[in-house]
Symmetry: C2
Subunit: 333 residues, 2 copies
């Protein structure tokens, strides 16, 4: 049944159920002019918004509504994670054509609620508007103690550059979709990495609390673009070591069979939603050990902070250093 037949108000009533995963915070949830919630004393309020538009950020026939719902939340929680923060609440603006199926919206909310429930993030509000194009625009709120706030600025010469996981998987998955191979079971795991990214929510908070992390960014637009932001904000140069950039065996296999370049995907592919951060150099070993103890996976050391005049360079496997020119995705190009 279409929304236009089912009724907007009835649909909103339906999806507004079971939206609270941390009831301690909530004073007024969905259903008044605004939501009202308690804030933790002594914490800063974090806020961010990110929208996904059909035909630009996703293709309706390539992503399920449940995946889209999960992803819409994930990309926003990832930004909160990149500040060392704990996400607390989201607000969702859905723009939908009148003939959208009610089932589709319900499945979208299954995905949204899965991701929210995972991190105890309350759905505090929303707006549903008719539009010729499907888009999902989310604002995420979070909190962090002032001493744990990690900005892009803060990296110092000599700091280590590190990432929380293998890069390029999402870009590899997108490449497989672009080549129409996404239905082949062999590639499903890589495609899943693109369609169902996992934000590093607990990892970001953990890293921030160690006190060793000096700057951080989430990898939404590709490593090259994210380290450029750290470089600009911190007014430092960066040297990345090509041989140290971590890849999954899945991606290496895909790279060989499909002749795609892992380093290109890592640098410019985007949407990995791992965290890239800088760490005091004398704390790297300690941090790697404790992180592995906590999360049963590795951190990766991939480069070093240099003086600003050094610029941003990639030291390739043969030892040569080349300037890194890649930038983020430009929507309007």
């Amino acid at each position: 049944m279409k929304i236009s037949e089912y009724g907007e108000f009835k649909l909103i009533e339906k999806i507004a159920r079971d939206t609270i995963y941390d009831s301690q915070r909530v004073v007024v949830g969905i259903g008044d002019d605004t939501a009202a919630e308690k804030v933790n004393p002594g914490h800063l309020l974090l806020s961010t918004c990110d929208a996904l538009v059909d035909g630009v950020h996703f293709l309706l026939d390539k992503i399920s509504p449940r995946q889209l719902g999960r992803k819409g939340v994930a990309v926003n929680l990832s930004d909160i994670a990149a500040m060392g923060g704990k996400p607390t609440s989201i607000l969702i603006t859905l723009a939908l054509p009148r003939d959208t199926a009610v089932n589709w919206v319900e499945d979208l909310y299954v995905g949204i609620k899965e991701m929210c429930s995972l991190y105890k993030v309350n759905i505090m509000g929303g707006d549903m508007v008719s539009s010729p194009v499907v888009s999902i625009s989310i604002t995420a709120l979070g909190e962090v103690k002032p001493e744990n706030l990690i900005k892009r600025a803060g990296a110092c010469v000599g700091d280590a550059v590190m990432v929380t996981g293998p890069l390029g998987d999402s870009g590899g998955g997108l490449e497989i979709i672009k080549r129409g191979l996404e239905k082949e079971p062999y590639w499903s795991k890589l495609v899943e990495k693109h369609l169902n990214p996992i934000p590093q929510v607990l990892e970001g908070q953990y890293l921030a609390k160690t006190g060793y992390v000096t700057s951080m960014n989430d990898i939404s637009d590709g490593l090259a673009s994210e380290i450029r932001e750290i470089s600009e904000a911190s007014r430092v140069g960066i040297e990345l070591w090509e041989e140290r950039i971590p890849y999954s065996s899945l991606l290496l296999e895909a790279a060989e069979r499909l002749t795609i370049s892992p380093i290109k995907l890592a640098l410019s592919g985007g949407e990995d939603y791992q965290l890239v951060f800088t760490c005091k150099s004398n704390r790297v070993k300690e941090l790697m050990k404790s992180f592995t103890r906590e999360f049963s996976r590795e951190l990766y050391l991939i480069g070093e902070i240099k003086p600003a005049e050094y610029g941003i360079k990639l030291r390739s496997i043969d030892g040569q250093c080349k300037e890194l020119l890649a930038r983020g995705y430009n929507h309007f190009a």
Copy 2:
């Protein structure tokens, strides 16, 4: 020049300037993964989002970008006002076609910033995405002391129903636009009421602080729909008095010359962004006096809260009571 020629990043850099009007709160503004701000101890965090879509909420050729920017902010601040809150911050997601003129976006931001500067609301973040359809989706954040929070629930039998100003002006303005008369200078003031609504930000906070107000709503969808929400949330009935509903002389004139019905516009026209609220009956006179002293304008007593079984009725000028059936605007109908 179009955005696609000018460059997305250059444009964002341009509009991200001068976005802070209360610098005391801001720890991290635009330009990191998320914004970070201080919150007032002992306050609740308020959050709301509202989107405006071309062809649905506005027509690009009937509203200037500056008006659209003001209105996009105003409709969100109005929701914060309706809780008795002080708006503190907004985040803006703009969806724009690639060939949108850079000038148009700059003018939009002139309007956004005018409204923000008026109430010292910081622009803390945003996202700009390409889309075939122009839309502006805003999240507003605010704060309120728990004792001043006014919900839709709270109205009690015997309470007075009141509004902060004349109704129907915005609906009248829209009617004039629909009839293609908006260029006639004679109607410009009424058209302005539709295109440039003023949220009752200070009024809402003032009313909440008196302690006499038991429930409140902003009039975005027409009086009938708003009092129905109060009735449902408070589980009470409501009697509205037709002869007491306030109109501007502008609207009465337009009503006569264009044969439109003021009561219909007040009940279902929407977008007046006045506040409708309920007040303890023995405090009405005191509140009216003090409000007039504070704001040099009047409050209007327009009805009374009845027991739930009474329903929602309009007592017409001839003394007859009829059930009020009108509901809010349904986007997907």
